[in-house]
Symmetry: C2
Subunit: 199 residues, 2 copies
DNA sequence: TAATTGACTATATGAATCAATTATTCAATT
DNA sequence: AATTGAATAATTGATTCATATAGTCAATTA
């Protein structure tokens, strides 16, 4: 699709500009200049500035989700899946500067309330991954039988909290230590057996 | 002290007014009228409107902390202490309408970052309680040996997250379920032994 | 003399206006 | 179907000004 490709060019340019200048200071002319199109033509692909912003962020979040899902799919062991999902979700922003910068400028993208989540579709997808891993772990007898829905929501909320602490408030070091402690406690809390037999 | 008592009257009146109208819409004259003093006299007790607000909120938060600490002190078993602390901290706002209403209007009171915490003195006190319980539990061999500082910070952050979800975003029911699941997982994650012997 | 008053001043706020910038539309063109 | 650029609509930011409110203080009271 030629149209899809052009659209992606626009999102890529917009991501860069929104990251540098923020929503307000980025003009449609900036975006047009960056893509080499005329201003009016942008409106052939998106319905307005707000729409451009949301589609741009959505596509970046989608990539994040896909990257994590692919890495998880590569793991065999369900406990490993859980660990990889958590670590990669948490580390992803380290080397995705533009998206990180946008999230810092617009912390409302990370919300603790599904109801006011502008990107709920993507986040529901992410939460589905958590649910799948939990269900699999329980089915295999590796995890204690927990309420999958509420536990997934809990983990997702804790995850959002960590993102806010680490990236939005840039408490990098402290957040990383907390993450380590938290991961140990949660793994002990959900896994049925000690990892090593009889040690 | 007569002065202390008068000051408390002011805080009590201010709490009520700030709860009803918010910071902006509450005038120093309102507070004066509510306490029966003249406006000028309020300045004998506090140095300005901002100061009045902060002292008012501080004193209410302090009461919260004390209520929890007293209930914890009444428990013998360290695991019970932990449970009581968590539950009471979480439930306190249910029957403290004015404070709850203020926290909803000014969610910045709950912050995930110690650095920008306007009430850090009080929150550090609250976190000290968590640390004490953790240390005691570890010393008694009831809890796994965790990094007390970072684990306390982690639990405190999760607690703040729950407060935001439950009261600020009023996701009461869902937050309560998440709380139950979370409590089970965390207790399994930190406790060394099953509660019941051989059952 | 600590506590209180009320009249006074300084400051902050919100409404109204207006120019300039920027978003959005659309008839014409490729 | 995709693109342009000129025309228009909407938004923003700066400025002004009147009003409301925060904050001060010399005088008074208990």
């Amino acid at each position: 699709m030629k149209k899809d490709h052009k659209q992606n060019d626009i999102f890529h340019a917009a991501l860069k500009l929104f990251a540098r200048f923020g929503y307000q200071k980025t003009t449609m002319e900036d975006v047009a200049a960056e893509t080499g199109m005329s201003k009016g033509n942008i409106y052939f692909y998106v319905s307005g500035k707000r729409d451009l912003y949301e589609k741009t962020v959505s596509s970046a979040l989608q990539q994040w989700r896909e990257t994590v899902a692919e890495a998880v799919a590569r793991e065999g062991d369900v406990v490993e899946k859980f660990s990889v999902m958590a670590r990669l979700s948490f580390e992803y922003l380290v080397d995705h500067d533009d998206l990180r910068s946008i999230l810092i400028k617009d912390p409302g993208i990370f919300t603790l309330t599904p109801r006011e989540d502008r990107f709920s579709e993507i986040n529901l997808g992410a939460m589905q991954l958590v649910k799948n891993i939990l269900s699999q772990g329980i089915a295999e007898g590796r995890f204690h039988p927990v309420d999958v829905d509420h536990t997934a929501e809990l983990f997702f909320s804790i995850y959002i909290m960590f993102l806010i602490k680490r990236y939005v408030k840039s408490e990098g070091v402290s957040a990383a230590r907390m993450y380590d402690e938290g991961m140990k406690i949660i793994l002990r809390g959900i896994c049925t057996n000690p990892q090593e037999p009889s040690a």
